[in-house]
Symmetry: C2
Subunit: 278 residues, 2 copies
């Protein structure tokens, strides 16, 4: 089984990291479209064009299943990616629906907060997915968090302060709308690296009943496993061999290796440079 | 006279703003390669590829002179752009040499500080340009400043704090190298919007002898004027008619108009969407 995992950069490696132990009997092809990142500040037309060419590349490598680990591409281009994959009968799973489902599975109040890139928030893909799971939601774009993570300021007072400002705004919006959120969905693959900062922030702003912080990577990996088991019933049992991984990037492979290791939480050896045009 | 002005985004509009009153008898073609920005975090090969296709577009519009308003493209791709423009006999002016010359023109101590994107700093184009003007320099990448400007956090305590952190690091490096800097070159077109923040920062860190803050936009416009007067001796005298401007962007024209107005300091009416591939 060849599984393609696609992100605009290295953030989607947190999804690959969740997939590896869960579906070890697979060959993984990870593509980071680093020459054209970030997607989160760009228009739907541009994001769709980039996501389609990236997905086509993974299909051309023989991938039989596509995981769109990029929240922005999942929010704005899942239909276009689906149309690209359909002629090859390649299923496509994004991160938005699993993330909303994970919040729905544990929310008692049925109110949730979502933080994401500007493009993801403007698409309202998360609020639609939450609504279909019976959740009310408030979304907030947090454009500074990706640059802060990429600068390596993970455990840094400036990052704590920026997070506090964004969460305060969410708190104000939730109060105005009379929502009692008990879940906070991390709607961008960079954000899990700031999990402790978010957990401190929600404890400070909602003392007594802090929202649970939800990372869609684990939920997405579970959904991929479920679909694989349902569609490919003759799959060998998990755990019989270790997964193989191949990495592709559209810009500097050195930078991908360095930054990616932090997201995958294990060394990345070979990365192949690919040209998707542009 | 058709003058092409190129940047990865809207930042280069600060250079266009300096050109308009100085060379009003021209028709300006401004291209922001917004679908592929930022350049400052990418590799030389990718930056050169993007800069060459952008420059070719402006030449195809009939531009007779190219101004590379993007510091990163000037630092890493000026040779490649020159090779692209040479067959058309189109002169090319970047922002690095004029910026270094402006520092050299006023520095008494012959020591200068340069802040820029990661790619610009890693290229050491500024230190080479400074050295050729008899200046010693210390360079520092400031990757968070562009996102802070784009978030609109111009007059914001977080931006002041981030600037203080970057300038403190420069101060430490300058002290270690026994430099006495009296000039600070803003080596990215986004930074002039933070001029007051930098001026406050250098007053705090170097009390008594704060460095003068240098914006290369004005220096670049002067260099373009000098070259035009030298090469096109039959130019009509300046001021006889108002300049015409055309704007092109590779991503959302709405966003370009909104954000660009702040950089150009005047309303931008029509922006045309262009596809450079990718």
């Amino acid at each position: 089984m060849k599984i393609g995992v696609f992100d605009s950069g290295v953030g989607g490696l947190t999804v690959l990291r969740a997939l590896l132990p869960r579906i070890p009997d697979a060959e993984y092809f990870y593509l980071g479209d680093t020459a054209r990142l970030p997607y989160g500040s760009k228009s739907q037309a541009t994001i769709a064009r980039y996501a389609v060419s990236s997905s086509q590349f993974l299909i051309d490598q023989g991938c039989e299943f596509l995981v769109i680990a990029c929240n922005t591409a999942s929010a704005l281009a899942l239909d276009e990616i689906g149309l690209t994959a359909a002629p090859y009968a390649v299923p496509v799973v994004g991160v938005i629906t699993p993330g909303a489902a994970a919040a729905a599975a544990i929310s008692q109040t049925r109110d949730t907060l979502v933080i994401a890139t500007s493009a993801t928030v403007e698409s309202h893909a998360y609020s639609a997915a939450c609504e279909s799971h019976g959740l009310r939601s408030i979304e907030k774009a947090c454009p500074l968090l990706v640059p802060l993570v990429e600068e390596g300021w993970i455990d840094h007072p400036v990052t704590a302060e920026v997070t506090r400002i964004y969460l305060s705004e969410l708190h104000r919006q939730a109060s105005n709308a009379s929502l009692v959120p008990d879940t906070l969905v991390l709607g961008c693959t960079h954000y899990p690296l700031l999990r402790e900062v978010f957990e401190a922030g929600v404890r400070e702003l909602w003392p007594g009943h802090p929202a649970a912080v939800i990372d869609s990577a684990e939920a997405t990996a579970r959904e991929v496993e479920r679909q694989l088991n349902a569609s490919f019933s003759n799959r060998p049992a998990a755990g019989i061999r270790s997964p193989a991984t191949r990495f592709y990037a559209t810009d500097s492979v050195v930078k991908f290796r360095q930054l990616g290791t932090r997201f995958l939480n294990q060394p990345i050896s070979d990365v192949e440079l690919v040209d998707l045009g542009g």
